[in-house]
């Protein structure tokens, strides 16, 4: 796959999402299901890495780019992540005074509801890859409780799950 094609596919994913993480269904559809360029395991690793590092949630597209085309792919992923943001400059000029229009709010609400459905649907195949024994199942349940409590930052939940898994591996080595 050329770097330009990769950029356009990742841009399509970011342009059709309305928060960083919600580009995941589109990325999975194009790069895991259709083109087999990455696996579900790589996709969830990319999400884990991006959420353990600094910066916006949508940064997992940089990892995806790196997996598919090395540093040039990572650059393509970075550009796909930031390109849509520049639209905000145009939108600011066009929409001043109109952002509270009911139809705009309705469209955003529709997008949000569909994004939630897509996220839930996409969690299933990723779970099948990631949860292969009782240990990741328990860690996933604990992490879900932590995320839903909203009291612990994402990076600490991911790091704790990783460390607990390593500790278990150490004790049973």
């Amino acid at each position: 796959m050329s770097v330009l094609t990769l950029y356009l596919l990742l841009l399509k994913a970011t342009l059709t999402s309305f928060s960083g993480g919600t580009s995941l269904p589109s990325v999975r559809q194009d790069l895991v299901v259709h083109r087999h360029a990455i696996t579900d395991a790589q996709l969830s690793t990319a999400v884990a890495i991006s959420r353990m590092g600094p910066g916006p949630n949508g940064a997992f597209v940089i990892c995806i780019g790196q997996y598919i085309a090395g540093p040039a792919g990572a650059a393509a992923g970075y550009l796909a992540m930031i390109t849509p943001a520049w639209l905000a400059i145009l939108l600011l000029r066009l929409l001043q005074g109109h952002t509270s229009h009911p139809r705009w709010r309705g469209a955003i609400q529709g997008l949000t509801a569909a994004a939630a459905g897509l996220m839930l649907a996409n969690s299933w195949p990723i779970a099948q890859t990631a949860i292969t024994s009782w240990l990741p199942a328990v860690l996933s349940a604990l992490a879900l409780a932590a995320f839903l409590s909203r009291k612990i930052e994402t990076v600490w939940v991911l790091a704790s799950a990783g460390l607990l898994a390593m500790l278990y591996s150490l004790l049973h080595a």
């Binding site: 399509k12 919600t22 600094p54 970075y78 929409l95 529709g110 997008l111 799950a161 150490l170």
Partner: protein
């Protein structure tokens, strides 16, 4: 006009040093740029936040672009997005290279096993956070269910599902 080094360093600081995703970063930028430095009036925040929500892609970067362009013009908006994301992007890239090179190591593999299990939970909780504010709206719940079934049954692509939901939401907006 705000001096460029000071201007760009504010966005670089909020974008690259704040952990926890978009909302904490937006809160940090609001505090620094609007409340403390007063580069913009407080009443602009609602407009900028709405623009960020309406812009496709990563909300925090759209918020940076809109806020920075309001302060320093379109070039300021373009440069602030790069300042707010490039250092973190390089760190993420280096982490990917590291994990890729060390993925065969059993300790790294164990860490990733745990982290990937937590990612499943993260995706589920993100779906819930998206649904939570609109869960009492019948149309939103219907669109959620239709999107879920359409995606699971591979009836339509994610893009088609999202566009159809946006059109449905616009046709029957909330009262």
């Amino acid at each position: 006009m705000v001096p460029w080094p000071q201007f760009l360093s504010e966005f670089a600081r909020a974008g690259n040093l704040t952990l926890g995703g978009g909302q904490p970063m937006i809160a940090e930028l609001e505090r620094r740029v609007i409340s403390e430095r007063r580069w913009l009036p407080p009443e602009d925040f609602g407009l900028l936040y709405s623009i960020a929500r309406l812009t496709p892609g990563t909300n925090i970067l759209a918020f940076v672009a809109a806020t920075a362009s309001r302060i320093q013009g379109p070039i300021g908006g373009v440069l602030a997005v790069v300042a707010a994301s490039l250092p973190a992007g390089i760190v993420i890239w280096l982490m990917t290279v590291f994990f890729d090179a060390w993925s065969a190591n059993k300790w790294v593999a164990a860490v990733m096993l745990g982290a990937m299990a937590a990612v499943v939970a993260l995706i589920l909780s993100t779906a819930w956070q998206l649904l939570k504010p609109i869960r009492k709206n019948a149309l939103a719940l219907t669109l959620f269910a239709v999107a879920l079934i359409a995606a699971l049954a591979h009836i339509a692509s994610p893009v088609t599902i999202l566009l159809a939901a946006a059109v449905a939401g616009a046709i029957r907006p909330p009262k």
